[in-house]
Subunit: 329 residues, 2 copies
């Protein structure tokens, strides 16, 4: 198996990306293709004495698509960027899966228009496993589509179900619809219609609406289906609320000498709490609905997050997620 | 000034509601009308030796509208419930403002269709001050309208601005639009259009889009304008994320004897953190856009939260928020 990696995507590129690729390659026995400036990639590998399983392939390209570039530029002016070239490798069957920590918008555009959709899929969407005290749950769409239609949400339900079953090993996964009330008549037009479609779909174990309050607890279901706008809001609100609370707690722990001493005792446990809620532990987001595996790692991914994204890519390939989605649509 | 209170709305009714009304009445010098079963109200007052400023008025009614009732039943089958009667008192000018901790949906329906809209207002919406480390910020609409149009969001901006200025004393308050990206071209159709209208409106100090990640920090703006669906999602996600984190921290503090000893030292500070993030400190939500002050206290309001909601009602009356909104629409 070969995974193509955009070596210049993300805040910590290329060092952390290449390091993560090396670790994953050796640990999971997958071959790696790195796209980006060859001279830089080679010196990072030499300076850090990095090794790779099998044959390492480097595809040289000068250009990089940044977070500030128009996402659609991946199709034209930035077609030869590290991400654009990585998409070409995937499209031309030179790799089995794709990983990038670069621009989410460009990954959605590239996945949809270069790699192309699975037949019958209305719109691909991003699914991400989020941490909770009760284990992780899948959130889909986490922001690939600003505007959604009810039929799209129904398909997100089917795709989530396949992913949860095949990749996360959950038997008959419970799927809920994010809504502003738990009763079946609640919500705006989009969600009232989506509820009906999800309920009527025999391929989904649909357990009804879930309110946002219940989402971070991770108790109610295995997968949360949402339109991309609300999904993005939930994801970022959890992030913002956690950052705010942790920064306030940190202030308390450093407030006085007595507090500092107490903090020493609690340090390890509080740190493990931060790790528990840390999304880099879970892996990247996957663009489901496209005809090959496309993994989007978090923009600030370190080597560990990239390693986990590669593991995720490998699991997706091994379990034939794409084929199973195609069969179920 | 007289405030009419639905004595039987909310999880802790009638005891905490009546207690809160008594405390507020004495502390702020406002007269109170209590709606609900007179015999129960009288025995609560007697048993708890409660006093009131000026003349206490009790309007006897048997019926109570619960959280499970259809909100529109406030207009018909539950028109004579404690909430319905309280709305009548307000409508007939027998009180200057209304407070209830009952069903949000029924308060929106009653406010809109019994009390009626301010001329020119498309849809009333709920505004609520939320706590943050940097002081409180206003979120509007927090869920009165499931479906929204761009012009509604523009009016939420104007109403938020008036409220922040007149009630919270903020000069030229900064208003932002909740969106899934900070650039002005981001979002779904609704938010792209709303952005243009807010930017073009000379009565608002519009500072652009705010991402959900920034909302809980409370740094970027004084007021967050949002459609009711997203507003409800933000509000409940913050609640859910905070509950989840606090429960995990609590587990850590009780994990071992050493942890318990350290927890004793930190207890007071951690408790003050919980208070800081506690919405009962800030007051209730206000239904802006209706022709008289309607305050919705949190469903699980205790006496303190009711007291704060009455204070808020008083400030709204004293500063003629309704008149100023009418002038600015």
């Amino acid at each position: 198996m070969r995974i193509v990696i955009d070596a210049f995507g993300g805040d910590n590129a290329p060092l952390e990306i290449i390091k993560g690729a090396s670790i994953a390659s050796l640990e999971y026995g997958v071959e790696i293709t790195l796209c980006g400036k060859q001279s830089v990639i080679e010196s990072v590998i030499a300076e850090n004495k990095l090794n790779f399983f099998g044959e390492l392939k480097i595809v040289d390209c000068e250009d990089v698509l940044t977070m500030h570039d128009d996402p659609t530029s991946i199709l034209k002016s930035h077609a030869n960027s590290s991400m654009g070239v990585a998409f070409s490798e995937l499209k031309e069957d030179k790799a089995d899966a794709f990983v990038s920590a670069g621009s989410t918008g460009a990954i959605v555009v590239g996945g949809t228009l270069i790699v192309k959709r699975i037949k019958g899929i209305k719109r691909p969407a991003l699914a991400s496993a989020l941490p909770s005290p009760k284990g992780s749950y899948l959130l889909m769409d986490m922001g690939a589509n600003a505007d959604s239609r009810p039929e799209m949400l129904e398909q997100f339900g089917v795709m989530s179900s396949v992913y949860l079953n095949k990749v996360m090993g959950i038997e008959n996964p419970k799927i809920a619809l994010l809504n502003i009330g738990s009763e079946d008549t609640k919500g705006d037009e989009l969600h009232i219609e989506a509820y009906k479609l999800l309920k009527a779909n025999g391929k989904i174990n649909f357990v009804g609406n879930i309110e946002a309050r219940e989402v971070p607890k991770g108790e109610f279901c295995d997968g949360v289906v949402t339109d991309g706008f609300s999904g993005n809001i939930v994801l970022k609100t959890i992030e913002g609320a956690s950052i705010t609370l942790f920064s306030l707690i940190k202030k308390i722990l450093y407030k006085s000498t007595m507090n500092k001493l107490s903090a020493l005792v609690l340090k390890k446990d509080l740190y493990s709490l931060k790790t528990l809620m840390d999304s880099s532990e879970v892996g990247g987001a996957i663009l489901l609905g496209v005809s090959k595996p496309v993994i989007k790692a978090h923009g600030n991914s370190n080597a560990k997050a990239i390693k986990n994204a590669v593991r995720q890519a490998k699991t997706v390939v091994e379990n034939n997620i794409i084929g199973t989605i195609a069969e179920n649509i």
